[in-house]
């Protein structure tokens, strides 16, 4: 499994670094099949336009292992529902899988609902070993950061549009 590390032409998803999780060949200490699946068949890898007002971008990093994770959500303004999500992660396989799972779970949910996704659920879904629990933590933080970013953008928009309308009223008057 692991020798298929460098995938030419594949969409950017980072490299699979074993870390403390041993290579897939070893029996009990292998990556869980879901993790391997998310690595081999990456879903929702990509980028949205950052300046798009309906997009919230969460950019988090784990300095201990040098990982970076970017998770973007596209929100429907009217309903507050997340219509699409994508991610880009540079780090170990567990981090990539965690963010991939996060994007999958986030799609089609309300923003408030999404904030209640816990890292323990992600870890359980992927059967992450204790040493890789911080990867799921990173994914949870990424979701929260994305939602927060969207809220901030929305608030700014509202504030600026209010300012504009006040100006207009002032001009008209």
């Amino acid at each position: 499994m692991l020798p298929r590390l460098v995938r030419r032409g594949a969409v950017a998803a980072g490299l699979l670094r074993p870390g403390s999780g041993a290579p897939a060949a070893v029996g009990a200490r292998a990556y869980h099949e879901r993790v391997v699946d998310h690595y081999n068949n990456p879903r929702n890898v990509g980028s949205f336009d950052k300046s798009d007002p309906t997009v919230g971008t969460g950019l988090v990093g784990a300095p201990a292992c040098g990982d970076v994770m970017k998770l973007q959500i596209k929100v429907d303004d009217n309903t507050g529902k997340i219509v699409d999500a994508c991610f880009k992660t540079f780090g170990c396989g567990s981090a990539i899988a965690s963010s991939s799972v996060a994007t999958e779970w986030v799609k089609g949910k309300q923003m408030e609902e999404v904030l209640s996704i816990k890292n323990t659920e992600i870890a359980k879904h992927l059967s992450l070993p204790p040493v890789k629990l911080h990867c799921s933590m990173l994914a949870e933080d990424a979701i929260k950061a994305a939602v927060k970013d969207y809220e901030i953008k929305k608030a700014k928009l509202v504030a600026s549009s209010e300012a504009v309308s006040i100006e207009k009223a002032a001009d008209a008057a």
Binding site: L15, P63, G66, K70
Partner: protein, 364 residues
Amino acid sequence: MIVRCKISDIGLRGFTSPSSKAALRCKTKRHKKIIKKGKMWRRCGRGFLATGSTAPDAFSSSSVVVAAALLRLGTCGLHHLPLSSPPQVLPWHHHRQPALRPALRHLLRLPTSAEAPSSVGVARLLLQLGRPYSSEAFPNGGGETERRGQPNATATDVATCWNCGASPSSLSTEPFLVCGACRSVQPVDASVDFFQIFGLEKMYELQNDNLESKYKDWQKKLHPDLVHTKSKQERGYAAEQSARIIDAYHILRKPLSRALYLLKLEGFHVDEEKTISDPELLAEIMEIREAVEEATDSKALEGIKSEVGNIVFSPLFLQLQEKLQNWSNSFGKAFLEHDFGDAVISIQRMTYYERAIEEIVKKL
């Protein structure tokens, strides 16, 4: 003529002529080439035969030679004592007091007396010679006795060798990993940190480049392959010490791990679960990593490469190395000023740049 040992006064049964060289030495544990007969010989201890004369008061030159040899062995004998094997106590003959020849005693400047010295006296004598004896052999006591088989920590908290009881020389600045006297490997002392093992100060910059030579020196003394013949306990110690030294070498060699270790010694442990959301840093790192991915995928490296000698480095690579160096210097400075907040930040940045460099190297 019965040939007698000059010190223990035991007669050598079966031999009547000391003509052959083999008859010159009393059989002790250490003198392997001997005279085979007689258990009494084996248990004699450090007896020496001299050629020829058996007259008790003879001031023969040979006895002088013997005494000199004994003295020499006594004072520097510690280096040659194979005390690592479990001590087979050499019981002095309880039924027979070892008698010191007057000649020898004179040479050793002991008070000449007509009576045979007691076992205590012999023990004291041997102490003067520096040869320790176990307390079983001298139940009457007689100076310090070594404690065998246990790691030593005296009341003054100075470690002593578990094997021979010697404490490390106060002149030596090296950590006490191997006993200087009997060359046996000591158990791991976790309070000795990696910098002490290599004789370096607890600083970020390495003063000199001789990590490797020190590493090899230590391994020559305590590598497990060198202790195959020794006791299981000592082999265990050697394995642990050797592993520790290997870890120390690898951690101190690389700047990032060295920095992390320094902070750890100061009490700052890396929190793995901590996430940061510094937008500038993360955005920069994301860009770099994306650039690396794309560059190798599209083989666009040709356009951005520059040649340095025969090795081709991309400008990005050089840039990253420069940044890494800058943050490395900043860590050094922060550490010296005990500004640990800055130090942690520098380490975080160094980690990110190191990862990026690793990725580039992997792709190259």
